[in-house]
């Protein structure tokens, strides 16, 4: 029982939030199920291409986040090095940057005439207008979410348990694998879900940096945006698919981690 206020206050608040999120979701799903995926000749191709492109690029982004982001988060939390304060601040920048600004910044950095991009162009590598560019844009905006979540978990981790493991003979790496990571597992999963969903939903930065071309760079959000003008029902169907996939991933994650909110 929460002290200090009648029980119906938090319940009403929870129902309000639920309704606020639920009503648009239900409205979208209700219209989406009424759409025939094969009604127009171009619809199945456009929807399918966008779906698979989104899934593959965001999974690649997630893998990169885990491989690169986990040790980076550990270093930011535990390992003092010169410039760590700056690195910590930089990790937060993509989170507050508007996506279109992120896209512009990526262009000015990695575009053909960009700061680093001009060198890449000389070597024959162009990132803009490519699927690699999509992954790059997704990484830029979503890896910070993973790193921030995991960094916080590593900061909170109980050093005594790790020290105890090492006194009992574990190596540093062993302690990390068998003590630190399992303890941080909920945060790793939460960070992964945040990162993946941010990558799936990325719109402004990919549109600016990678462009929009079916099959190559037109992810689901970009396809929905383009379909709004040419095939509204197709946009609704793709939007509904997005919701189903997102809810599915969240459901699977909750099941896998076995986390339930605990009663006080």
């Amino acid at each position: 029982m929460t002290p200090g206020m009648p029980r119906w206050t938090p319940i009403t608040a929870a129902i309000s939030v639920g309704a606020f999120i639920g009503i648009p979701t239900v409205a979208l799903l209700m219209r989406a199920v009424a759409v025939d995926p094969f009604a127009t000749a171009s619809r199945p191709d456009a929807l399918g291409a966008a779906f698979w492109l989104s899934v593959t690029t965001s999974l690649v982004t997630l893998v990169i986040a885990i491989i690169v982001g986990t040790p980076a988060a550990f270093a930011l939390a535990r390992v003092p090095f010169p410039g760590r304060g700056l690195a910590n601040a930089l990790v937060d920048v993509p989170v507050i940057l508007p996506p279109a600004v992120a896209g512009l910044a990526l262009l000015l950095a990695f575009g053909r005439r960009g700061l680093a991009g001009s060198w890449l162009a000389d070597a024959g590598i162009t990132l803009a207008f490519s699927t690699t560019g999509v992954v790059l844009a997704q990484c830029f905006v979503s890896i910070p979410f993973y790193v921030r979540t995991v960094r916080a978990a590593f900061l909170r981790a109980d050093r005594d348990l790790e020290a105890a493991a090492m006194i009992d003979g574990a190596t540093g790496w062993g302690a990390f694998r068998h003590v630190t990571v399992p303890l941080a597992r909920p945060a790793l999963v939460a960070g992964g879900v945040l990162c993946w969903s941010r990558a799936m939903g990325e719109f402004g930065a990919t549109l600016m940096f990678a462009g929009s071309l079916r099959g190559r760079t037109q992810t689901m959000p970009l396809a929905i945006y383009a379909l709004l003008e040419s095939d509204l029902d197709g946009a609704v169907l793709l939007g509904g698919t997005f919701v189903v996939v997102a809810v599915g991933i969240l459901g699977v994650t909750a099941f896998v981690t076995g986390r339930q909110p605990r009663a006080e």
């Binding site: 262009l107 053909r112 207008f129 071309l213 383009a226 003008e229 040419s230």
Partner: protein, 294 residues
């Protein structure tokens, strides 16, 4: 329980509320005064003009993105005319197809200015247009390449070279439809070779949301070439893009229709604006921006 303000705040609250109302009432009554004509100047109390209470002071226009800079100039000139000083202008720029979708889904505006007849016809078919649409300007297409010409595109035939990064819009955006029509006309010219338009379309690396985005991609040097309106070139700082002309035989005449919408909240002001746009002063502003007159 929410904290209540102490009783002595009540008096100041009331005063500030009165001041608040006075602040807003004064301009309304002043504009009412301005509206009275000389015949009633003998009256001691000015009567408010009917249109102040019935009509909004804000003219809302949904306009094609290629009109972005010229409409601002148009409004500045329109506002200087007597009787228009109290009016405000809100423009919603976007691709005409995007604006058409917004209107079809219930967005309200006074005027719709489209970059092609097709989008205006769809809006009219949805029963949203009040009266008839009239063409107020024309435009033509050009090819633009970035400064430094990274794709080495110097002639129209070069657009078909494999590997050229060509950007355009989806075909339902006016510039996308016009560009594809123009490429088709160029394909029938034997000098360009068979399947010219298919080769150029195969070079598309991105379909941007509207013509301004196409211009930006070329301006930044990311794209090797793009097709835009002749008027868009005037908005880019000198030297950042180079133009390749499309001959009249293969060019398209882009027609810009304009119409009052049934959802207009300022219809009288909107009609005056459209008359101004069609008047010689309005048309000269368009011509100065490299549009062709109606």
């Amino acid at each position: 329980m929410l904290p209540t303000s102490p009783p002595e705040m009540g008096a100041t609250r009331l005063q500030s509320r009165r001041a608040f109302i006075a602040l807003f009432a004064t301009p309304a009554s002043l504009s009412a005064c301005r509206g009275t004509n000389t015949a009633s100047s003998a009256q001691t109390t000015p009567e408010p003009e009917p249109r102040v209470s019935a009509e909004s002071n804000d003219v809302v226009m949904f306009a094609a993105s290629s009109l972005t800079l010229v409409l601002d100039k148009m409004w500045q000139a329109f506002r200087m005319q007597p009787g228009n000083e109290g009016l405000a202008f809100t423009a919603n720029y976007g691709s005409s197809s995007q604006l058409r979708t917004q209107l079809q889904e219930g967005a309200e505006a006074d005027i719709f200015a489209s970059a092609d007849v097709a989008q205006m016809e769809q809006v009219a078919k949805a029963g949203l247009v009040d009266g008839n649409a009239t063409v107020f300007a024309r435009n033509r297409l050009v090819v633009i390449v970035p400064k430094g010409n990274p794709g080495k595109v110097t002639t129209l035939a070069d657009l078909a070279k494999p590997g050229v990064k060509f950007v355009t819009t989806p075909p339902d955006v006016p510039i996308g439809a016009y560009a594809r029509a123009s490429l088709k006309k160029l394909a029938s010219d034997t000098a360009n070779g068979n399947g010219y338009d298919a080769k150029v379309l195969a070079n598309i690396v991105s379909e941007e949301a509207n013509v301004r985005q196409v211009v930006v991609k070329v301006q930044l040097g990311e794209a090797d070439a793009g097709i835009c309106y002749a008027t868009d070139v005037t908005t880019v700082p000198a030297g950042e893009v180079t133009t390749i002309d499309i001959p009249d035989s293969a060019n398209v005449v882009a027609e810009y229709p304009i119409a009052i919408l049934k959802s207009a909240k300022a219809p009288a002001a909107a009609r005056r604006l459209i008359s101004f746009i069609n008047s010689p002063s309005g048309q000269s502003i368009l011509v100065a921006a490299k549009f062709k007159p109606a």
